[in-house]
Symmetry: C2
Subunit: 382 residues, 2 copies
């Protein structure tokens, strides 16, 4: 009998030291292989998004099948979302940045869901006004990643319910309470909003097929912790006559304090770089960030440091190394002891500040078209 | 220890011989007393709706309190609804007819909810197209009862979801799954649509208060089997800052075959007079209806018949006796043996056919304004 796994990964809880290869086995997903990476590189015109090239997106369901169809001229669309409970942090943008890259390279539509209803149901302390306000603020940040206004549509749940509900009615009949309870581990005290919610999170996966009366497959880049949500979706797809969504799963992006995920729930705000942090706060957080460095400079020079457990190296890897070569240099310097943590932090901070400035400008532009991207009408009455 | 009750009354099941006084005790509701009837008669300008005068509406929650406020100049509104699974039958109109009377006499608004989503979730055999189509057909029949277009608004769930959802989000957070399970007796295999549904059925009770930013109390005339739905509503009202809805409960109206309710689920279609039944079918159903008559004419002349168990007498009592005097005459003739069942049936059939003709004309008129009565926009964003 194998030893029990000492980690837990669900949409509502990530704990323990995650063995990602084992998690893929447990979930029964497929590996992002060198062959699949080479294929994506070719389809994208020669390069690969860093989050795929560097292994953060490492697992999938049916991505190869989706690409087979794409190569036969069958378009797909991208779907990702956000539960608005507060400001976004840098790693929240990872999946969206990957989506933007797919959109740009493969010319496919993007659907973004802002789940202001879900967050209100999931967090007793949040008011409706807050979830709606954060929903719009988060949407500006998401669109600022560089989505094409002509190919990007938004479902803002409370504003888009008229567009979502006719399909949600059909979806909800297919999902028994027992499934939701098993997948999400809900207690009987859970409110009926959150119980219903998985129906609304499923709707965008089928919406373009419904609206266009033809099969439009869906690709969902997401943290592997979100996989259970979409297993429910995949299980009911055929019964409704829609294609199963394909998934592309990322590992969790570590937090600045050395946690395994840049999570904000139940951990200090210093664990994450929020997009609304002022420059001084960004400086402080990065300077205090957990690294793989040694106790003394002398020791580090002699033995080198460990990038595998370092939150600053994770920043380089997931966003701020402008090239794979640059990332390799940082890693070499780190392991060899030639690059000290303070120096490394200053170097990544330069890039972080530049990113914040670019992002702020793009965000102002995004505000101009955000409202018009929100879908409010159903494509058909039933 | 008292004997266990040998009847069951829930929103999804009515069985056994119902002891209505006992049911009121079990549910903890108040009696419609002579004093309350006298008060209603006075407020209505001197007469009383037959369904109240003749005791069909026999139980309430907080109606006296609602009238206290009404007399102090505080308006209320009426709310009733329909789950569209097929054609309406005559007794479906009872609650609406009572609402029309309240609207006419007390000049109050009426809100009608058509729950096309709920019926789709509750009946596996119904398609969405069917629930929507029956929803509109049923709505024409309901409006034909004589509602005032200026004071009548409709929530047709799938069309009105944009108006209902912002408030439904708040309501749903207040209702745990355990409550819904206990009140409705749902199994784990129940779909998450029906689990969520009670939130949407609650929304109209609070909607005018929400829309107008002031307390607008609600009065719901309904079958006593529907009381559990609104107990949930009453329990959460204060926590949301809205007044508890008042209820006025009717006894079940017996079916033509002698069942205790003119129910169509699981019983022969001959148990009910559908509003779309052609005259010949109406004739056949009434002629075959269960009565309290005797085995032979001779016996009936000698011993009289029993109106208490008679489905034809129920037709007289709940709609077709144009006056209490007329009803008393029918009852006297029945008990004394002077009125035979065949004769009595012909007499009520005359009135039924006249009603069908009037109703058909009113229905055509109602079609003209039905669509415009449907509320589609939320009064405020959050």
């Amino acid at each position: 009998m194998p030893a029990p796994d000492d980690f837990t990964v669900t949409p509502y809880e990530v704990k323990g030291r995650i063995d990602y290869a084992r998690l893929r086995e447990l979930f029964g997903t497929q590996e992002v292989t060198d062959e699949l990476r080479a294929r994506l590189r070719r389809l994208a015109g020669g390069d690969l998004h860093p989050l795929i090239a560097r292994g953060t997106y490492y697992s999938h369901r049916d991505l190869a099948h989706l690409l087979d169809r794409y190569e036969r001229g069958h378009p797909f669309f991208l779907y990702s979302g956000r539960g608005p409970s507060g400001p976004l942090h840098v790693s929240h943008l990872a999946a969206f940045d990957l989506c933007r890259w797919f959109q740009e390279r493969l010319h496919v539509p993007m659907y973004i869901q802002i789940t202001d209803d879900e967050k209100f149901w999931a967090r007793a302390g949040l008011s409706r006004e807050e979830t709606v306000r954060w929903g719009m603020e988060n949407l500006y940040d998401i669109l600022a990643v560089g989505f094409d206004p002509a190919r990007t549509r938004v479902f803002f749940d409370s504003k888009s319910i008229g567009a979502l509900y006719p399909l949600a009615i059909r979806v909800a009949r297919k999902i028994p309470y027992s499934t939701v309870k098993a997948v999400f581990g809900f207690e009987p005290s859970q409110n009926i909003g959150l119980v219903f919610y998985t129906a609304l999170q499923t709707v965008p996966c089928f919406w373009p097929s419904w609206a266009e009366d033809r099969e439009v497959p869906c690709l969902i880049p997401c943290g592997i912790d979100q996989d259970p949500h979409f297993r429910v979706t995949r299980d009911i797809a055929e019964g409704l006559g829609y294609p199963k969504p394909a998934l592309l799963h990322s590992q969790m992006i570590p937090g600045l304090l050395g946690d395994q995920a840049m999570s904000t729930t139940g951990s200090a705000a210093d664990n994450a770089l929020f997009l609304n942090d002022p420059p001084k706060v960004v400086d402080r957080k990065v300077k205090n960030a957990f690294t793989g460095g040694r106790a003394t400079v002398e020791e580090q020079r002699r033995l080198g440091a460990n990038p595998d457990i370092c939150s600053v190296f994770a920043l380089w890897k997931t966003r701020f190394a402008e090239s794979d070569q640059r990332l390799a240099e940082v890693e070499r310097g780190c392991r060899s002891g030639s690059l000290l943590c303070g120096e490394c932090k200053l170097s990544v901070l330069e890039r972080i500040h530049a990113f914040y400035a670019t992002h702020a400008a793009a965000r102002e532009k995004a505000k101009e078209w955000a409202e018009s991207a929100i879908v409010t009408a159903a494509p058909k009455p039933v």
